[in-house]
Symmetry: C2
Subunit: 359 residues, 2 copies
């Protein structure tokens, strides 16, 4: 059952995904979540770890979710209701349910609708944290559909020329199936850098790159320097001259589709702990021959990956490729958990009377 | 009829939009385009000029279109055919028709489908140049719908880490109605800067900003310098450290939806003169109450516009605001045409036996 061993000087444990998933599910169940929902939520978290998206995996997120359940901010038994619907659309009141559990279900509704009329598009309001956006988008792949997911997050990012955060990191994800190659899976925040990257830079004493952040007054920092005490996040593009109005505008699109369109507000209003989500599925067969499409995606991926690299660069990659490569490794070798995370697991298992089954 | 006067040392004429539209339509008709189609194409071009998007207006584009028609690359009487269809989708073979004329028609099909099932999504293959992407997206506004438009362009932009262009400038446009405020209208290339901005910088002897371009070998130029003889365009984000994988990935999304999904290839294959387009309409009433949505958009726009500006900045704007403000001015005062453009008009009118009616 357990396959774990020390791997590096950081004192990490390598844990098999199935074991980690079972433990996470057991903890969710102690929060009052049904077994089925707990298994789904565990799958979303462990998938993030398998794909190397540690920021959205077990180590980084489970504690927040446990806190959200125990403080009452997250509803363990949400009564999800479709409040408006058409053949291609639905708008759901997710009753403060955790996004990693409610959004896969919303995506399944979108997939069903796309199967019937070609496109399915579902908004989810009154919601909590989404987890890894690409998980939900990737749910469309096995149905030979293109999957899309966005989430309107509480504000942390400046608009272009602005001194106050008005938008969340508002990620956009899209998953597209290929034939023999791995799927194209784009999943990125519309901010210049992820917030946790800044935390890591500060911990390591690394310097900021120009354009990563604005100072506390909103002026983009365009020199190489240490991470300041107070700072603000910038949209992709960093400055107007470098195209930050593009990152800002795309973030607005996410706030409108995942926020305003739900009828439950948007990132800045009501703000935390609210989130709003958006998923969509496009049936490839409703546009063109599926087999031709997937073969062309193989050809397109091959072209992109075989682009001559710029001097000093090793290779050109395609969205979803690093995560695919990591998944191949971690599925076999296991997911590394830092000793500090292992200790947290031991503590929380003690508190909740869950058998600690990782070591 | 004519309202024109010299405005500035550059010797521009100010021309009323209606007069300009009539002249452009007459020229399209001489290319073999029907009056109805010619009027539509003229409206797209003049709308770009009215909104200050001169890069996609009459001065910059009409000559290319005339060349395309006379060389046989653009078909003046295309037989647009829906080759695959579902209640929410259609895929169109546009028979080498000019995008500024075929895509509004495709958008009308998307709007009709959205009216019936909530979402309409139409791909257009075997196509020619799109014009201003937001024109097509904005067509949804009067129907209380959100409009989307993307176009897969021939390659001119490097992938992250790449030394060879693989993607077009691949713009994304989205238009969203508000109640009393102007609509939110995002329309931006996924490249760091527009190609014509570089041309202007070179003409004016202006320096490059760091991150605008890569050198001819693909290395991003991160210093302030004059425009080099040979260069390459970068995706939004400029370098991997600043998030160019996001601009690159978004450009890929456009290439897939506007290219691969049409079944007629993608940006790099077959390349010029082919383009592929994608439009979509989302019916707001299929998600939430339209009046509530539009009121919330007013509130959201107000919040964004009233963000405290960063030091030295005048104000925070919302996508579509500068274009809306320009349209108010140019609708009244006229559209400026450089003398060189006026001369071209005189020449082409002579060649085609069209009455030159601008002065």
């Amino acid at each position: 059952m357990l396959k774990q061993f020390k791997v590096n000087p950081e004192d990490s444990l390598l844990v098999q995904s199935e074991d980690l998933g079972n433990l996470v599910s057991a903890i969710f169940q102690k929060m009052g979540v049904s077994k089925e929902d707990a298994d789904l939520g565990a799958d979303v978290l462990v998938s993030a770890d398998l794909r190397g998206v540690d920021s959205h995996g077990v180590s980084n997120m489970l504690r927040n979710y446990v806190n959200g359940y125990t403080s009452g901010q997250i509803n363990p038994t949400p009564d999800m209701k479709i409040i408006k619907e058409s053949p291609a659309t639905a708008n759901i009141d997710s009753d403060r349910g955790l996004g990693i559990i409610t959004v896969p279900k919303a995506m399944d509704i979108a997939i069903e609708k796309a199967n019937t009329v070609g496109v399915g598009m579902v908004t989810i309001g009154n919601a909590r944290h989404l987890g890894m956006a690409s998980y939900h988008a990737m749910r469309a792949l096995e149905h030979d559909m293109i999957g899309v997911c966005m989430t309107s997050c509480p504000p942390s990012v400046l608009p272009t020329y602005g001194a106050e955060p008005r938008l969340g990191t508002n990620p956009i994800a899209m998953a597209v199936p290929a034939k023999n190659d791995h799927p194209f899976v784009f999943d990125a925040a519309t901010s210049a850098v992820a917030s946790n990257k800044i935390g890591i830079a500060r911990r390591l004493g690394a310097k900021l790159e120009p354009g990563w952040l604005a100072d506390e007054f909103g002026t983009p920092i365009m020199e190489t320097m240490e991470v300041p005490e107070k700072y603000q996040l910038l949209p992709v593009g960093a400055t107007r001259e470098l195209g930050s109005h593009k990152g800002y505008g795309l973030s607005c699109i996410v706030d409108i589709l995942g926020g305003v369109l739900t009828g439950f507000g948007y990132g800045a209003s009501p703000g935390r702990p609210n989130f709003g989500h958006y998923v969509a599925a496009y049936k490839i067969d409703a546009f063109t021959d599926v087999d031709d499409f997937k073969s062309t995606m193989d050809e397109w991926m091959y072209m992109m990956k075989n682009t001559k690299p710029a001097p000093g660069e090793e290779r050109v990659m395609v969205a979803g490729q690093p995560e695919h490569e990591m998944e191949l490794i971690r599925s076999k070798e296991g997911i590394p958990l830092h000793q500090e995370v292992v200790d947290w697991f031991k503590d929380i298992c003690g508190e909740l009377s869950v058998e600690f089954s990782l070591g």
